[in-house]
Symmetry: none
Subunit: 256 residues, 2 copies
DNA sequence: TAATAAATGTTGCTTTATGTTGTTTTTTGA
DNA sequence: TCAAAAAACAACATAAAGCAACATTTATTA
């Protein structure tokens, strides 16, 4: 049997696309009004050319970034991060300029910004850039360099010099830990340096963090917590952090 | 000479367009109230022009690369691009260093390289970088700058200077048009400049292009075709291009 | 209007795709 | 862990699509 390009395969691809990247054999068969065997046979062909990936009971498009949501589902505490992301997106008007740093929460924020228009986004995160470039007349500036293999971020002097070119309305950051004594903390010095820089180059600073970050320990401080204008989180922090935020004039915004 | 005959082909094109880019012969025949043979014959003509692609049971519009968006271009002729992508991936061993430029075909090549290990990838395409960073111990170097909104590519002096830092085993490029007289062509001068640069900085040069590119017109030449070592495509080019490739010592590799 | 060229329709035949049936494998739920 | 259910697979018969040669219609030109 020599497989050939076939219109049925085209139909299956579009069906998968409409279904958001993956669907069940049964569903596809019903949609196209053919037998499930036909769907399986054609999916088999699409598999051999690498267009789709076969799952038991269904299939999924390979590539085209639809799987990002799948990767994200694996991350921790996604519901909270999604709520936070939408809250942050509400705070950012169309046409704004903003820094978006790297982090699992900021990746969700990029998703939440997908319907915004005319944004000017400066980022060192490949995921953020990928999600917002080629959309809605946004202008996206990506810091170049070697991308860290664990998170796809660009760091170092080149990234700093790149970011130094900009002055934006918002800086949107994540934090790995928050406590009353030290403020906002990260695990990585490079990240912290970048965070400090973009805070100094923006009018409004927003830190997004889910409740698990409260009183979690991280080694590097992001810098003077007085600079942070908003802390967006999914639950009220413990009393000591709430009081500290008051002293920093940091407004706590609850995502619901 | 023949004012009416074209009309049928025009009707078929509009029918395809209304159907979302692809349709079955049977459906088109019913829509236009003609025999299926007539539809096949006209589609055959449209195929030789390069306007549509024939599938068993149907046909699909081949859009003009200049006018369609990057996302749309990704979905054009995906089987051919995927086949080509896998062929190119076969040519690249684990641990190689390579330039990957921007283009819908190279986006598929990035997908096809998803199981490769320890690659060093230099690119100016956000899609390529996103797909290969954070995978299999790859090192990915992304050229920074403003990302073009229609394809997510970084261009200009900064991208050029960035690429200039590297010397790689492979350069993998796309072409928008190929003809015997001018060699490999692109629509955009910036792209062509970048292509020339990375060709000059790599040991083996591979151009990936599907059959629709043969004898398609594009304004800017990529440079001296003698430099190109491999042309990977999904069908044999017309005789004149085949001969030209011989004179350029460019090996034609067929993806099947 | 007749002659010619082009396009379309028709028919018989070959190739390819699909549906069906029965069997094996994988998942699910207790 | 097992049994029932769902899904996948294999093999065959049938249906659909493609192809080529010829007949017919439609358009073009002298």
């Amino acid at each position: 049997m020599k497989p050939q390009p076939n219109h049925r395969q085209q139909e299956i691809l579009t069906a998968l696309h409409k279904a958001g990247g993956s669907a069940r054999i049964h569903t596809i068969a019903q949609t196209l009004d053919v037998s499930e065997e036909t769907v399986r046979r054609n999916i088999k062909h699409l598999t051999t050319i690498g267009a789709v990936e076969k799952l038991h009971g269904g299939a999924r498009i390979v590539g085209n970034a639809e799987e990002t949501s799948f990767q994200q589902r694996l991350s921790e505490n996604p519901e909270a991060k999604i709520r936070i992301a939408h809250k942050v997106a509400e705070m950012i008007p169309n046409g704004s300029s903003l820094f978006l740093d790297i982090g699992s929460t900021t990746a969700y924020i990029a998703d939440a910004l997908r319907d915004h228009q005319n944004l000017l986004v400066v980022t060192n995160s490949i995921a953020v850039a990928y999600k917002l470039a080629t959309r809605n007349n946004n202008r996206v500036f990506m810091a170049g360099g070697e991308l860290r293999s664990h998170d796809g971020g660009a760091f170092g002097m080149d990234a700093m010099n790149f970011a130094d070119n900009f002055q934006t309305d918002f800086a949107v950051l994540s934090a790995a830990g928050i406590n009353a004594a030290n403020g906002f903390m990260l695990f990585d010095l490079e990240e912290a340096k970048f965070s400090r820089l973009i805070m100094s180059k923006s009018a409004t600073r927003i830190i997004a963090a889910d409740a698990r970050k409260f009183n979690r320990v991280a080694p590097v401080t992001i810098g003077n917590p007085d600079l942070v204008d908003y802390l967006v989180c999914d639950a009220l922090p413990p009393k000591d952090i709430t009081q500290a935020c008051e002293s920093w004039t940091t407004e706590i915004t609850l995502a619901n």
